[in-house]
Symmetry: C2
Subunit: 246 residues, 2 copies
């Protein structure tokens, strides 16, 4: 079990992790895409997910700050500009705010993250810290959930447009753009991991990094489910759909 895998075996093992653990399997995800949530629950999802979106450039900058390899930095930079934008290009965080605007959430309230669940913030910051503190190889490997993202984005676009009358095409640019960006990024990261995980220990660390990242995503949906679906215990200070914001 602890022998050296070929690059292909390692990739297969990583895809297995996704098949078992990616958050597309989470009950909250199924509710979201099938139209079973009410508007307040979708708002709660979008404003919590903002914490994750807006942390991505910080974690990618943390990764860049750790490598002496200029080519790796040049490649990785695109992830930051995809989210923060560059010059006239607004970036993915702005596109996410178009979604939260469209859902009727006050933009300053969303950006303040005051209404986010503490568990969301803990999970997101655990991810930033993981990238800052673990090996560079593990940091790269933790991005590999993008292997599984295009499918979830396709489901999201179709499911949300079809099932919610408070969502229309004008708020979906984030997901449409990610359909193009994620495959390009993940091809690089997957290749990097396959090239650089050349010992059994390194391969184990890579698989564990992806598992960790799946947990980061999964636990955010656990927290949403617990607070906003069942049993519906909203923690003190967190967003309450029945209140107006803005």
């Amino acid at each position: 079990m602890s022998g050296l895998m070929s690059a292909e075996e390692l990739e297969a093992r990583l895809r297995e992790v996704g098949a078992e653990r990616y958050h597309s399997l989470h009950p909250f995800h199924k509710l979201l895409h099938s139209g079973a949530l009410n508007k307040g629950q979708v708002q709660a999802w979008a404003l919590n997910r903002f914490c994750y979106q807006s942390a991505i450039p910080r974690k990618d900058a943390a990764l860049m700050s750790r490598t002496f390899d200029r080519e790796l930095r040049r490649e990785w930079l695109r992830r930051i500009t995809d989210h923060d934008g560059l010059g006239e290009e607004e970036g993915g965080i702005e596109r996410w705010l178009i979604l939260t605007d469209g859902l009727g959430l006050d933009r300053d309230y969303v950006i303040s993250m005051q209404g986010a669940l503490p568990a969301t913030r803990f999970a997101v910051e655990a991810y930033v810290r993981f990238v800052r503190e673990n090996t560079l190889l593990e940091a790269v490997a933790s991005s590999l959930t993008e292997l599984f993202a295009p499918e979830i984005h396709r489901q999201r676009i179709a499911g949300m447009l079809e099932n919610y009358d408070f969502i229309d095409d004008s708020v979906m640019p984030y997901f449409r753009r990610r359909l193009k960006q994620a495959p390009r990024d993940v091809a690089f990261a997957l290749d990097y991991v396959k090239q650089n995980a050349r010992t059994p220990d390194a391969q184990t660390a890579v698989v564990e990094a992806l598992t960790f990242k799946c947990n980061v995503l999964w636990s955010q949906l656990d927290a949403l489910y617990f607070a906003y679906v069942e049993p519906g215990f909203v923690p003190p200070g967190a967003f309450r759909p029945e209140e107006t914001h803005g």
Copy 2:
């Protein structure tokens, strides 16, 4: 002495730090620009300075990884692309390698940093660590040596072209580009510091951050002087001009 300064007083105090401590005052700098060094000494300077140049994107990424402020990240990103390049644009590190190429140094040897002085590496990594670990305000303030850089770059272009027959215009693009980039960057950083250092303690921290950064630059020239000018004790393993590399 520990009262709150106005923004203008703070700026004046910062400019005083530069007037007292910027490495343009260092004896090695004067030798370099006046044509008093031989080619081996200029090679030693260029290959040691590469360590600093190539660390800049890491320290700027470290700063970006620490801020939740998207506008600050978007602004700061340009410093990374100035050094690492973006797409077709080669960036300042590549321009620095054109200089070391022109000085007859093997590019792989320069990039490996194997010939750099340990004191250079320590100073440079102290800077990266400072930005990673101190307050965001101090991290921004530590960039303010750029207030004093255009003058040194102008002296360098004129002095080096005039005084060394082994240096011609083809290797100077790094300095020419920095003449344009540094003033633009520093205007933002200076404004940020003036806006955000609003207590006596914060202002003291800002002045100390700039002092620290001046020390980072100064100590690199001390190490060069000691190893390659007087007394000329090259540490074990460090670059020796009389040896050929590449």
